[in-house]
Symmetry: C2
Subunit: 220 residues, 2 copies
Amino acid sequence: MTFPSVSKPLDLIIVEDQKEVREGLRYLLGLDPRVNVVRTFERVETFLEALDTLPTPDLVLMDIGLPGMSGIEGVRILKKRFPAVIVIILTVFEDTDRILESIRAGANGYLLKSTKPDILLEQILGAVSEGSPLSPRVAKRILEEIQDSGEPSELSDYGLTPRERQILTDVVNGFTYREIAARYSIAASTVKKHILHIYQKLDVNSRAEFVKKAIREKLV
Amino acid sequence: MTFPSVSKPLDLIIVEDQKEVREGLRYLLGLDPRVNVVRTFERVETFLEALDTLPTPDLVLMDIGLPGMSGIEGVRILKKRFPAVIVIILTVFEDTDRILESIRAGANGYLLKSTKPDILLEQILGAVSEGSPLSPRVAKRILEEIQDSGEPSELSDYGLTPRERQILTDVVNGFTYREIAARYSIAASTVKKHILHIYQKLDVNSRAEFVKKAIREKLV
DNA sequence: CTGAAAATACTCCCTTTGGCGTATTTAACC
DNA sequence: GGTTAAATACGCCAAAGGGAGTATTTTCAG
């Protein structure tokens, strides 16, 4: 007889509408003495109601595609009331939108249902002691998202001259021709000329479009 | 005799300055027939030079803290020349800055040196077939980053009315009073009034400031 | 039903912007 | 040494924007 863990078992709740999956999980996870499956629910609504009368669990396994309220919305509400509860999404969905929305809602991990049972158990236990479990395919989506969020800066330069870049910044910050002219001690007409040049390079024709494009393309 | 993998072994390169770690990895990974450790390097510089004379590897294990050029910079250069090569960072650093910079540089995975050898091997092989390997502690940092990047949206509403929000969007998209008026079949003077109201609520007084603030505060 | 907020509309006045042209000086690159 | 691009500057004009005031109608919650 071994004593791999002296601490109390992990109180876990499963929210999953498909009976076979739900019961399968309950059984599989229950086999490990370090896990205690407190209860299971088919719907977010009933789960959230029951939270008042139930001792707060350590961890929740949450499906996304549920009848009624979505699991993502469930996470949002749950985390607002109990920020300390660890929530792991367990779903078949692997599209970037749902992944990001889940994370923004407060999820602490995102695993796909294709995860093998032994890995799943390991990941659940690791979520408490280590960090956030993510299926590799999910992680890939997230990395892609980070990559093309911070990048487009140097791809698009639009061939602006140094002076034009300075002035571009000022325009975005809301200065008028005159104010910018004063900053650099040049004539307002010159500033205007620069700005018109920039407009041509960026293919815009008003302050609003200009500022929008400059910010979106991370020129500032 | 079993045939778990018919495909050719994974050509792998290790860039790591500490001799023990480097040789340890080479030995450990080399034990698995699915992996072929082509070469190892102590520095990014020599690695990058050698790339011209070497067949392109499938995967590179890259350390960050190296003498001379940092591993992150190495990834940037490598990925620019060989986008198809899979790069996994293997380091002791787990700060958000280095993690994000690595990903933006093009890394396909980020593992900590505390990763157990068997897991490491599994993750490396999975990087080709599955997705991006991330240590749970690294994933945790990334999730935190995503969480507080997408949040401030609904905190600031500025008490805009529905109509004002519609018009706000149009202004950001570069439409003039007249154009917006036409869109909703109302008078340009009304549009102007709405916009002036919005200016007061957002505390701005020009198109440029308006657009900047609206985008930055994610009102659009 | 009543009152507040929102949406509508107009006027006057001045400033700013956008588009056009022209022209000189400086700097950089063959 | 000559060409090119950048930065400087001015003028003209029509369109758009910004500030302030007033007023009517709709809508919605108390």
